[in-house]
Amino acid sequence: MEYKVKIDAFEGPLDLLLHLIKKLEIDIYDIPVAEITDQYLDFIHHMQKLELNVASEYLLMAATLIAMKSRMLLPKPELLNDEDDDSYEDPEMTREALMQQLLDYRRFKEAAEALKDSEKKRLLLFAKPPSDLTRYENNDLTTIPLSGRATMHDMLRAFRRLMLKKKLEQPLNTKIDRQVLPIGQQMNLVLQKLKTSDHGLSFHSIFSYPDRTHLIVTFLALLELMKMNAVTCVQSANFDDILINLGEGADDFEANENPFDY
């Protein structure tokens, strides 16, 4: 018999037993305890890699099998009183229980196999992303009934789960935490963004960090720039996004010498 097997080729002691039963052409309804025990022990001796955390399950089964085998070799105690029965474990009962366990496990293993088939088929099927129906709809997310929406908690849980999955232990925002943001520097940044963008920037896009200090400093920087005519702000209607464009004073602005570094 070929024994060069890693333990992870099997899902556990029951799986290994089923494998042996199959391989030795044993009738699962009449398992020869001595033979299966020897084979089982032989097998786990030869397993190349018996990891400690999984080994216990295999060893427990080995112990059960050995106990069963040795009891079967012993003569049955005779003239038992009902009261004395407690101390005696009938190996036939243990064998019956093991058989039942194996049958149960095999049923689910077969069910898993059927599912695996469905999965395999399913993974071969592809579909396009949903079409953009916005041209047909009022694209107002607020029309989604509150009950149907994903909540903040949904989002945060999704995120935590993701972080856990990736085992990213370091907070992502260490870079921007406690960062000192002089207004002058922020004014510069806004101007640079505007200069590299050919169509102006939306008010919102300037506030790109979820950090209170950053928001306030950026807002102050924007007010300063407006005062200096370095930028102009346009809002086409109430509550519309404000569009920021370079102003006439932009070229005069010498950021490094500005007095707003407080």
Binding site: A9, K23, A111, E113
Partner: protein
């Protein structure tokens, strides 16, 4: 206005196209086609399924999803589709996860201990994977001191395995009736195992 059957069919096809991988609920189709009953819609789609399948010149097919349908490419298209980089590949479930999800599906609501008793091994990791993938979820707590978490399957499970509803799972008890056939299936299973073993 009474719609012709061909028209109804074309509308269903159009909706299935538009919704793509999200698929379309029977109920949604019904809202667009209020003149049809749900049963009529089901009949139309079932006929369309057959037609797609029979049409060798078509690369498309319709599959079930919970309470609805989805238009997908036929399996043979997988080879061709994979050359389009944008399609993300999904890794199949591990053997442990498959066994665990099968137990949850047939025995729900079920606790981790119940599952471990059947499998004979620790199943915490497999359960966690399945929860993260959304295939199972906590559906309650067992009575008694431990108040163990009880697991059940989710609509994602049905979708993942291409089932309309749980009743489409082959009954376990029936599987027992055909033990001889099952043994053959088991042989096949272990043939597969041997391959795995060789690869190791």
């Amino acid at each position: 206005m009474i719609l012709k059957p061909t028209k109804i069919r074309s509308i269903i096809e159009g909706l299935l196209y538009l919704t793509g991988e999200e698929g379309c609920l029977i109920e949604q189709i019904n809202k667009v086609l209020p003149e049809c009953t749900n049963q009529e819609i089901i009949n139309y789609v079932e006929q369309m399924k057959k037609d797609y399948e029979a049409d060798e010149a078509s690369g498309l097919m319709i599959v079930d999803q919970p309470k609805g349908y989805r238009l997908t490419t036929k399996p043979f298209m997988a080879n061709y589709a994979e050359s389009f980089a944008a399609i993300p590949k999904t890794a199949p479930l591990s053997q442990a996860a498959l066994e665990t999800v099968a137990i949850v599906a047939y025995k729900q609501p079920v606790s981790r201990i119940d599952i471990e008793e059947i499998r004979g091994v620790k199943s915490e990791r497999a359960l966690q994977t399945l929860v993260v993938k959304g295939l199972i979820k906590e559906v309650g707590r067992a009575e008694g001191s431990g108040r163990a978490i009880l697991y059940g399957i989710t609509p994602v499970f049905l979708d993942y395995f291409g089932l309309h509803d749980l009743s489409e799972l082959p009954p376990l008890s029936e599987m027992m009736k055909h033990q001889n056939e099952q043994i053959d299936a088991y042989d096949l299973f272990y043939d597969h195992y041997k391959e795995t073993i060789k690869e190791l």
